[in-house]
């Protein structure tokens, strides 16, 4: 049964090839249906693996043969089936399939309909390779593959008119560059691991780690921190998170699949997978918790000030990823992965519902006759959509309440577990995360009120229509999952915890604490109430009720991008330039200081290429002289 695991990857690859080969000949919905069926098949295989694992929970390693065999390095095409990887596979293929179906409706009429599904299938293949790999190199291939797909999908509408296409492709570049900084960290971590352990197989590295390295060994810290750098890139954590909000330039299903449900959680998966290494380094663990907590709080506060429906969700995603990263940093792998799963449900739901809203409003705009410049993603043009788009509204409510963490929805249980662990071990983190939870409730309530309640503020909103069934059916399914998803790991039962125990080495899980749960629920309700007072009781005009210095700060994302500029401008030293090399100018490709230095060096080097025959020969004579001097010195030694 375990031998089926290569099929999980083979199916999406086959889908890519099928649609590449025949995509130009067959008509629009067919390619989408092929891709969705393929994704469903991968899900079916994952379910089979799940069934097999129930009877044999220790899992297996399936090897297809040697890949690279040279010197001390031996890498094989081998896949790991264990509770952790299968849990990830189920999420990726399950949510993925729903998003595929949704996309058939969403991408209807797009000139590159088939290409979109090719990218989606390619992404599935890469993501499944990432989670099922049994060695770091294979994982890295998947890691790069999802990055590439993300790049392609963010810039999918690179040809939109009026400068928007340019913005889309520069957002794609920004994401690509930020990810490569993170990838460099992962790559260096792999070198370090190979250097220390002489292998890149999970079994060798993770199995030997405790024997080879002592707790607190500098090497363990180095490797863990390099891994963390990789995580901050892929999972959009401080300091590399700036790419994710811009990534919303891509089509909404891609945002839901890649930038909310699956790819961005790869970092969480990586930490959970290499938990042994992090456990050896208290410093690195502390850093992970710090990064996760700060990201959670910072991003939640920024989300409060955004007016773009997708950007709110993007910052919300960053914030929720911060929760997960903080959780796995504390060693609470079950809590982190539990939140990963529930978040995949409700955030994919929210994104797709938001897509439905955008679709409906854009449609309404078409009906209302063209006016001046109009942004169908701006929440200020919406309002009163509750009656226009009832299904979208109700599913949205389910997702929003789950995100806010109201019992008994999925988000309540998973977030509560994280808060509980923090409460017991990291009091400061607990306070920060609870504050973030409060802000979460506030901004999602603000969004709901601005979008669905009150009266339509524009003609477009007034004429909005409900989306078609391809889009609504996945929404309903995901809404159901968001409501009942908490059942996966109910307090006292711990189904998921018992399941993952076979793979991860869990920190002691505390009992359900009514106090912690009560406080967070109360705060969530408080957030809702506050939002209702500010946005619910009177029509939202041009001016936001929160207008003021603080709100200005939030709207400008705490000037993070500007802050990066400042830090970089100060020529403290090369190190600070390297560390802060992600300022927006850098990432927009214009002026990384390092790049400037390189360009300057490049120009300088070009001077040496005089094109002068005499100088060229002088180079030869100079080279001869240098080597002769080396010989003379070598003889003396």
């Amino acid at each position: 049964m375990f031998n089926l695991v290569p099929l999980v990857i083979a199916f999406p690859v086959a889908g890519v090839l099928l649609n590449l080969a025949f995509g130009t000949r067959i008509r629009e919905p067919i390619t989408g249906i092929i891709a969705s069926v393929i994704s469903g098949l991968a899900f079916a295989v994952s379910v089979l693996l799940l069934l097999a694992l129930i009877s044999q929970p220790e899992g297996a390693i399936v090897s297809l043969g040697e890949w690279i065999q040279v010197g001390g390095l031996s890498i094989s095409w081998s896949f790991r089936v264990d509770t952790l990887s299968v849990a990830m596979m189920l999420v990726v293929t399950g949510v993925g399939t729903l998003i595929h179906i949704y996309s058939i409706g969403y991408m209807h009429g797009d000139a590159r309909f088939t290409r979109f599904f090719v990218y989606l299938n390619l992404f599935l293949a890469a993501m499944l390779l990432l989670v099922s790999a049994d060695n770091f190199l294979l994982l890295f291939v998947g890691w790069e593959g999802v990055g590439l797909c993300s790049y392609l999908l963010i810039g999918f509408w690179f040809d939109k008119p009026g400068g928007e296409g340019w913005r889309n492709s520069s957002a794609a570049r920004k994401a690509f560059l930020a990810n490569r900084v993170g990838d460099a960290g992962l790559l260096l971590a792999m070198f370090a691991m190979f250097w220390v352990f002489g292998s890149l197989n999970f079994a060798d590295v993770l199995g030997q780690a405790e024997e080879t390295l002592a707790v607190g060994a500098p090497l363990a810290t180095l490797i863990s921190l390099l891994l963390l750098l990789g995580v901050t890139g892929k999972s959009a954590q401080i300091p590399l998170f700036v790419w994710l909000p811009d990534a919303m330039a891509g089509p909404t299903p891609a945002s839901a699949l890649i930038h909310a449900a699956t790819m961005v959680t790869a970092g969480v998966y990586l930490i959970a997978r290499t938990g042994v290494l992090f456990a050896l380094s208290p410093v690195a663990q502390g850093m992970v918790v710090l990064v996760g907590t700060c990201t959670a709080l910072l991003a939640a506060s920024i989300a409060v000030g955004q007016n773009d429906i997708k950007r709110v969700l993007a910052y919300s995603t960053i914030s929720q990823l911060g929760f997960m990263v903080a959780a796995v940093g504390m060693g609470a792998y079950t809590a982190g992965l539990f939140h990963l799963v529930t978040h995949a449900f409700f955030k994919a739901l929210l994104f797709m519902a938001a897509g439905s809203v955008i679709h409906g409003v854009a449609h309404g705009f078409g009906h209302a006759g063209r006016g001046e410049a109009f942004d169908p993603q701006d929440m200020r043009v919406m309002g009163g959509l509750r009656s226009k788009m009832p299904v979208t509204f109700w599913t949205y409510i389910a997702g929003a309440l789950a995100l806010a963490g109201l019992p008994p929805l999925a988000g309540f249980f998973s977030k509560d577990e994280i808060l509980l662990v923090a409460f017991e071990h990291y009091p400061l983190a607990y306070v920060a995360l609870t504050a973030a939870a409060f802000l979460t409730a506030f901004y999602i309530a603000r969004q709901m009120l601005m979008v669905f309640f009150g009266k339509g503020r524009t003609q477009a909103a007034a004429h909005a229509v409900e989306s078609g069934r391809y889009m609504l059916i996945p929404l309903i399914i995901l809404a159901g999952l968001s409501v009942i998803g908490g059942a996966l790991n109910l307090p006292g039962v711990h189904t998921l915890g018992g399941w993952l125990e076979h793979t991860t080495h869990e920190a002691e899980a505390g009992a359900f604490n009514a106090g912690v749960a009560g406080v967070s629920t109360a705060l969530a309700l408080l957030g809702f109430g506050l939002a209702y007072m500010l946005y619910g009781r009177r029509p939202v005009g041009e001016r936001d009720p929160l207008e003021g210095a603080l709100f200005n700060a939030l709207r400008n994302k705490w000037w993070v991008d500007e802050l990066y500029d400042r830090i970089v401008v100060r020529p403290y030293n090369c190190l600070s330039r390297l560390a802060a090399g992600f300022d927006r100018t850098v990432i927009d490709g214009a002026g990384l200081r390092l790049a400037r230095l390189m360009i300057w060096l490049g120009e300088t080097a070009r001077i040496t290429q005089t094109g002068q025959l005499n100088w060229n020969v002088a180079g030869i004579v100079g080279g001869l002289l240098i080597v002769l001097i080396i010989v003379v010195l070598g003889r003396g030694a």
Binding site: R606, I607, Q609, T610, G611, Q612, L613, N614, V617, A618, V621
Partner: protein, 101 residues
């Protein structure tokens, strides 16, 4: 000074003069002349080496091959020089520095 010492010294001195010529001369044909001077030095060196190792005929054989090969190089070089003169109107290597950077 034995004849061999003379030959070895001659080889190095001719090599040096040729190299200097390559660095200092700007006329393409004179550059090729400088190359030829270097070759003369190396011919001397080869024969001297054969002589030292007691195989003067081996040295001669190599020297003949060297002379032929470098005559060919000189001829190709001269042909290039003639074309350069036709296309650039000059033999100055300074003119031949449009490709740079």
């Amino acid at each position: 000074m034995t004849p061999l010492h003379v030959a070895a010294t001659g080889a190095l001195v001719l090599l040096g003069i040729g190299l200097y010529g390559l660095l200092a001369l700007r006329n393409l044909i004179k550059v090729i002349i400088a190359l030829q001077i270097m070759v003369k030095g190396v011919v001397l060196a080869l024969v001297a080496a054969g002589s030292i190792s007691g195989q003067i005929n081996l040295g001669q054989s190599l020297a003949v091959t060297l002379i032929v090969a470098d005559t060919i190089v000189a001829v190709v070089g001269l042909a290039l020089a003639v074309q350069v003169r036709r296309r650039f109107g000059s033999l100055d290597v300074q003119e031949l520095s449009t490709l740079r950077g």
